[in-house]
Symmetry: C2
Subunit: 471 residues, 2 copies
């Protein structure tokens, strides 16, 4: 089928385009439209009103809560008012985790409260738990502890995430959050506390997903704010034995079916072929999910709406996806990919991109496509250049919810955002609308509109994601 499609594309290229379009499959009119979209986005678009509305009228949107249902209904109605050709829901089912109560305090040597939050998925402490803490500088140091050495104790992983524009400090740090409970339990610990995976000294604890494995006891897991972790480290470095009280009430309560909310601008020539852009609709429960990821849904919806406002539809379909429950395991992205795989539609996916790294300006275009399609990416990059965006080859990767379909062979693009401040707010109560700069939002809408339009308009086939990126 892909071969047939290529043949058809080649036929179109020969019959429709001037020779100058060359191997980008884009004619001057397509480029002119892209440039117009870019300027139109900078002059005003729907993103700010979208994210202001979503974060004000829904607020926190923890997957599986009644706010999840309200967010789905709100987004569907908003999409329907934005001029798309088609808006629909697709089911996404997952277990529901609820946070009820959380607190921590130093009991000795220096009694005082601590700022703590339960990690997503954690079990509770079953009433207040009192124990000594044992510090580990890293998850690896915890793994190296002797078996049983933490019996009756709380493991405390104290390494601090480093700040970078591209957020690359996250990867080395986040293992403590994901796997700390399992590794601590293997050594006999009764709970694990980590230094928040965050770059700010603001006294917020950062939540985020953690996991258990089948053969290891499930122990409660929480994160301390950076200042609170510092406080414990000072006590420990002074030679004190530190005893804490930890009280977490949280539970996983059955299954819930939410929805991916999808809006389309239907392609005029190849409506079955799609370019997807989107963000995730769910958020953690403590902030209002403005930068994670109201902004991503708003940016891509506004970009899609600009394309929908053109007189002519793009050659292929542009699909905006507000994914369900990214935070607790990429459920929306997985459901989307599985549904496409089941119907053999993965090869129809020309390019997928997700905005899920806050609301900082985009500085790079990256992609995982066939070598033959790279000239299209470069041509798109030329239209993005006035936005301060450079094209980078051989680096990057798809957004989290695009990952599952990329793993099945779909090509991807990435509009890399400046994430310098992202992990200051990420997964905290401080993720609120005021953290978004409206002008930065406009720049991102412009970039997504250009990318989605030109990717949908080119006659070139993007092929499949290079194996490396699909890993």
């Amino acid at each position: 089928m892909r071969a047939l499609r290529r043949l058809f594309a080649a036929f179109l290229a020969l019959s429709t385009f001037p020779a100058s379009a060359g191997d980008t499959g884009l004619d001057a009119a397509a480029i002119a439209t892209a440039e117009r979209l870019r300027e139109q986005a900078l002059a005003g678009n729907a993103a700010w009103d979208f994210v202001a509305g979503l974060t004000t009228e829904i607020g926190p949107r923890l997957a599986g809560t009644e706010a999840d249902a309200r967010a789905v209904a709100w987004t569907k109605a908003r999409f329907e008012a934005m001029g798309f050709d088609r808006v629909y829901l697709e089911p996404v089912t997952f277990p529901v985790w609820l946070r009820h109560r959380e607190s921590a305090a130093v009991l000795a040597p220096f009694p005082q409260p601590l700022v703590v939050t339960a990690l997503g998925g954690s079990v509770g402490t079953d009433g207040p738990l009192e124990a000594e803490i044992v510090e580990f500088a890293t998850l690896d140091a915890l793994k190296a502890a002797p078996e049983g050495s933490l019996r009756g104790k709380i493991a405390f992983i104290s390494n601090r995430m480093q700040r970078f524009r591209d957020g690359r400090g996250y990867g080395p740090a986040v293992g403590a959050r994901s796997n700390g409970a399992v590794e601590a339990a293997r050594k006999g610990a009764v709970a694990v506390l980590i230094r928040s995976i965050g770059t700010s000294n603001d006294r917020f604890a950062h939540t985020g997903a953690m996991r258990y494995v089948a053969d290891v006891p499930r122990i409660p897991a929480g994160a301390l704010s950076n200042p609170d972790a510092d406080q414990l480290v000072r006590m420990i470095e002074a030679g004190h034995t530190v005893r804490l009280r930890l009280d977490i009430s949280a539970e996983t309560v059955g299954q819930y079916t939410s929805h991916n909310v999808i809006a389309e601008v239907t392609g005029r020539e190849l409506p079955q072929e799609v370019v997807t852009i989107g963000g995730h609709l769910d958020s953690w429960d403590q902030g209002t999910g403005a930068i994670d990821d109201g902004a991503g849904v708003a940016i891509t919806a506004a970009a899609g709406a600009l394309i929908a406002s053109l007189e002519q539809r793009p050659r292929r379909t542009v699909r905006v996806i507000a994914y369900a429950n990214e935070e607790q395991g990429l459920y929306g992205g997985k459901a989307y990919a599985e549904a496409r795989a089941a119907e053999g539609a993965v090869p129809l996916h020309q390019l997928g991109a997700e905005s899920d790294f806050g609301a900082g300006r985009i500085y790079a275009l990256r992609a995982g496509v066939d070598d033959a399609a790279w000239p299209v990416i470069e041509r798109i990059g030329q239209v993005l250049a006035p936005l301060g965006i450079t094209t980078e080859r051989g680096v990057g990767g798809p957004g989290p919810d695009v990952g599952p379909i990329v793993a099945k062979g779909a090509p991807w693009a990435q509009l890399a955002q400046d994430g310098t401040d992202y992990f200051d707010y990420h997964h905290t109560p401080n993720d609120t609308l005021d953290k978004i700069e409206p002008a930065a939002l406009d720049q991102q809408v412009a970039a997504y509109a250009v990318l989605a339009w030109l990717a949908a308009e080119t006659t070139v086939d993007f092929g499949s994601a290079p194996a490396k990126a699909a890993e």
Copy 2:
């Protein structure tokens, strides 16, 4: 007595000093010592260890709690280890206010939790209170509301504090906190909520003292974080009637006697005459009181300890005062002034200064002294100039705890700090050690050491505070 003292000072000046000292009453040796103190402070001093110790080993120090008693004992022991000639306690009695529980949520039109904190001194809601809110742009707008117009409603004062280096945005804003409950109750309101008196968009609610008056019903008073206040304003501006649930449990529970903790370097010639420097030892309950005001106590104690480490005592006594319960009504400063007034010791107070504006660098020296003593202030300013400090005449005022003795006629000095960021952290859980820059702390210790040393060393009498400053 003051006249006699002046005569004695004049005699000393004639007999001891070279003519060049002129009307500053300071000889070259005194200036050289001041310069040495300045450089010594910059090279290292006790302030960081002090504030790190206090905030780590005691943490929050709400007046009247057991942490207050621990803080007094800790500070007395620390002062005793710092080389002072005398360390002692003086009683300070005040009512105890305790915060037990606080939460708020929007019930309609868009249900979601809000970040709220009870104001210091507030009564509780006696269980969850549910009511509509009525927004007022300012306290004055609330005062102008018709009598009875808020019956059964919650008044919401939404004006935002402005950011300035000298913190002058605080005065115009803080009336909403101090008097909002009384004014709202006069109109029939069941509670008052204010936008936090704070300059940051971080999602912390700022607490702080409020007051009731005898003839007006006592209604609960709380502050919302800036992002939460924005959220309510957006709902109201969209035309919605906003209904909240507010649940505050707090109470005032009898009297407690804490202590001003005092350390002295005893004067070699006029030990009864004193120069006082200090900060306040209490803090609000949510942060660890690092910038408000662990820093102030640490800076002035470290400065005093540097003076105590000199081979020769200053002419007059240098007294470091860690005041009790500044936050809830300047109790420590008032008790100190009243005790001095009762024993006729106010005229012995040559100069009083308090560090209670965070831990930002000092940029100005100001004073309220007799005109005849201004040349001393100018000379002190010359020694401070290399620290980036300019001398300003006719502006400023004493620190809060110095105010009561200044009102009784004592002269004052002010080392004005850069407070640009102070109200980002002030009275929030985010007031923690990491907000202090060690090098800035050193600069302040240097300035206080120079000021206290030279004010204690000059033969000139500082007279009394000009009437304006004493108002």
